[in-house]
């Protein structure tokens, strides 16, 4: 609070005067080391490396953020795929073969889970980021998110179809 109006009262010579100080007190618990009076507010630091264990919602958030590691890594895989594609058929087919390693399969499982989790959280967020007001009422949020899910499913099926999966 700014206190431009404050002047020292002549009677007390400007001493900050605490009530009770210098006044007979009831017996108090013994003061802990050197902190009797005026210790000031207690600042409770946020533990910078472990705060997310405080609540499940933070773990869910961190899980969402961690998806970026797998998605990012997968994008690197795509760049490598492009490199092999550019290098010719032999190189590309060798690349397809390397995909079959157990490590690659495990990575794909993780990447798939991450990508799906990202997609779900992203679509759920659309209703918050882009609310739509039609006339007086807002379009129900579930409808906005739901529309994204539908579009996503359709797009995925088209891509799978074009890729010749079915």
């Amino acid at each position: 609070m700014s206190k431009p109006l404050v002047s020292a009262g002549p009677s007390q010579g400007g001493d900050s005067h605490k009530l009770g100080a210098g006044v007979a007190r009831e017996p108090q618990p013994p003061p802990r080391e050197g902190r009797m009076g005026g210790a000031g507010p207690l600042i409770r630091e946020v533990p910078p490396t472990s705060w997310y264990f405080r609540h499940p919602r933070y773990l869910r958030y961190m899980a969402r953020e961690i998806t970026s590691l797998f998605v990012g890594a997968y994008c690197v895989l795509l760049v490598i795929a492009l490199q092999s594609l550019a290098a010719g058929q032999a190189s590309y087919e060798a690349f397809l073969l390397t995909l079959r390693s157990p490590t690659s399969i495990a990575f794909h499982v993780l990447a798939l889970v991450a990508a799906l989790y990202h997609a779900a959280t992203w679509f759920n967020a659309t209703q918050k980021a882009m609310p739509i007001q039609l006339g007086e009422e807002f379009v129900p949020g579930n409808l906005i998110s739901g529309a994204h899910y539908v579009a996503w499913a359709a797009l995925s099926i088209v891509i799978l179809f074009l890729a010749g999966v079915f």
Partner: protein, 585 residues
């Protein structure tokens, strides 16, 4: 002790205090304004007001009608020059709030919407869903943030007015977070400290409504006026006392007893109107005093419903339908659901009358000035004699705007050309406060428990100064409150530390409430008639010959207060019959 020198000090930063501060800052930007409050402004109890604010705006309405409703609703105890000023200023103030951003509900064409309210013959209550007070308070608070000359002292507990040379020149206050005492010197002081409903056990009022402002003015020599008029709101939750707004009935909710009868028709508010078609100024839209009194009679007849929370009547809103309830009464639905487990869409909700509002307060005139020069008051803590013996719902939110601004203008007038403050004299007064507080800390002979005393006070007020009163009960009440005031001198302060010592503040608040309780009981005992919210079983009729007057209670130290009277200002409406029979046009 630090001294803070200002031009104007405002005590209380709720609706009235903020409106005052803004009016001062707008009128004279060079003014130094100290806004002191024991809570952050948005915690003030204005935020709990639900229904709305009355002001003539629609073409089918008129100032005369608002005047008649207010004067009749107040059982002719209102000062009519005050009512006249109020009704004319009301629309301007409500529009001003609109210009500051208040989210009033709207008609399809974009104009402000109005709803019906108890005792009003026209729809004239502006509303923001059922959070009108909340929106008014936040609009005022947020608007106030743009004025650098309003310097807030949040969480400062005001203690004593500084009076010298026959005029009020400041106040002492304690910074709650440090326990430091400060004195504020000013040319004018405006009290906007709210009501004192907390002296009753069942109240819609928040914990902060302890009458500190009223008591402070009273102790400084300003009289308290018409304190015996305590409004019971007919529809409170029976367990927490939380308010279910009058708009429940305004929108069409009905009150029924255990036999399913709409009993209001038996108490001069009939004949019955069709369910879901509320008619203005009759049945469920009768005034609060009558509707609350009808509950008491039903209770005597054994017509109330026994619930686990005590005797109740039922408020039935099922016929309004879910859509309307969600749009107009979302807070009511939420409150009933969470605190009682009742969904008002599916079931009637048990309710009972609860103490809601003090018609009385620091005596002020239409200029918002108290008899003590330099001291002004506005809002619930003041009794400008707008509400008379019974306030109409939705007049108080406007009252705090109209008279908050008025207090600012009067204070500005007052401070022109005032002689310099005698600092030494004020310092001496401030030190008296300091000694008073020190005594609480050093008291060693304390024997009384604070919460015990508080409970005794509440029980006394409920039992002896409730909806219906008697000579015998009031005598007992006066004696009991007197005894409690004496025992208060021996209350123990358990917590003797400095920082945010709520033990200390609750003790000081108890002192304020006891002062207010004295004025209520003494005033009620002296008024041997029934008028508005003051109902005497032994004097059931209104007595205009002897009591068309305001009760004025003066503090006399530890002695019994002095009671005096002041004539009511009648300009054009002689006392008449309050008619809520539904036969009006």
């Amino acid at each position: 002790m630090e001294t803070i020198s200002t031009d104007v000090v405002i005590i209380g930063a709720g609706g009235a205090g903020l409106r005052t501060a803004i009016a001062l800052a707008e009128t004279d930007p060079k003014l130094r304004i100290a806004l002191i409050s024991k809570v952050y402004p948005m915690r003030s109890h204005t935020c709990a007001a639900e229904g709305g604010a009355a002001g003539v705006i629609k073409p089918d309405d008129s100032f005369d009608m608002h005047f008649d409703d207010t004067v009749g609703g107040g059982d002719w105890l209102s000062d009519q020059d005050c009512v006249e000023y109020f009704i004319r200023e009301a629309p301007r103030e409500l529009l001003q709030l609109e210009h500051w951003g208040c989210p009033w509900n709207r008609e399809a064409d974009g104009s402000v919407a109005v709803r019906p309210f108890g005792g009003m013959q026209k729809k004239r209550t502006w509303f923001a869903a059922d959070k009108s007070g909340f929106h008014i308070l936040h609009t005022l608070f947020q608007t106030s943030l743009q004025f650098p000359s309003i310097i807030r002292f949040d969480e400062y507990y005001a203690l004593d007015l500084l009076v010298d040379d026959g005029r009020c020149q400041g106040v002492t206050a304690m910074e709650m977070r440090s326990g430091q005492l400060r004195q504020f010197h000013a040319k004018a002081v405006i009290i906007a400290g709210g009501g004192a409903g907390r002296m009753f056990p069942f109240s819609t009022n928040g914990a902060i409504k302890t009458g500190d402002g009223m008591a402070m003015a009273y102790r400084a020599g300003a009289p308290l006026k018409d304190m015996e008029f305590v409004q019971y709101h007919p529809t409170g939750l029976p367990n927490t006392g939380s308010l279910l707004t009058e708009a429940c009935r305004g929108e069409g909710g009905i009150l029924v007893n255990k036999n399913g009868r709409r009993y209001l028709q038996d108490y001069g508010m009939g004949p019955e109107t069709p369910v879901g078609k509320p008619q203005l100024k009759t049945m469920e839209l009768g005034p609060r005093d009558r509707v609350s009194q009808a509950y008491w009679h039903e209770l005597q007849k054994g017509n109330t419903v026994s619930t686990q929370w005590g005797e109740c009547v039922m408020l039935d809103m099922r016929h309004l339908g879910e859509k309307k309830i969600n749009e107009r009464l979302p807070l009511v639905r939420e409150l009933a659901a969470s605190y009682l487990g009742v969904d008002i869409v599916k079931d009637p909700v048990p309710i009972r009358p609860v103490v809601h509002y003090m018609m009385g307060g620091i005596s002020t005139n239409t200029q918002a000035a108290t008899p003590l020069p330099g001291l002004f008051a506005a809002g619930e803590c003041a009794c400008v004699s707008l509400n008379g013996a019974n306030r109409l719902g939705s007049n108080s939110l406007v009252e705090l705007l109209v008279f908050g601004r008025r207090a600012a203008l009067s204070a500005l007038e007052h401070i022109q050309g005032l002689p310099a403050t005698n600092t030494a004299a004020l310092n001496a007064r401030a030190e008296a406060t300091q000694l008073r507080i020190r005594e609480l800390f050093s008291r060693t002979d304390g024997t009384e428990s604070m919460s015990g005393l508080r409970k005794e006070m509440m029980d006394t007020m409920e039992k002896n100064a409730g909806i219906y009163r008697t000579e015998e009960g009031l005598r007992e009440g006066v004696a009991k409150i007197d005894e409690l005031r004496e025992r208060y001198q021996r209350v123990i302060l358990t917590d003797k530390t400095n920082v945010f010592n709520t033990d200390l503040f609750q003790m000081l608040e108890l002192g304020s409430m006891l002062d207010c309780a004295t004025a209520v009981t003494v005033g009620a005992l002296a008024r041997k008639e029934s008028r508005g919210a003051h109902q005497r079983l032994d004097y059931p009729e209104r007595d205009d010959k002897n009591y068309l007057r305001h009760t004025m209670v003066y503090h006399q130290g530890q002695d019994a207060p002095r009671v005096d009277y002041l004539d009511v200002v009648i300009t054009k409406s002689p006392p008449g019959v309050r008619d809520y029979s539904g036969d009006h046009k």
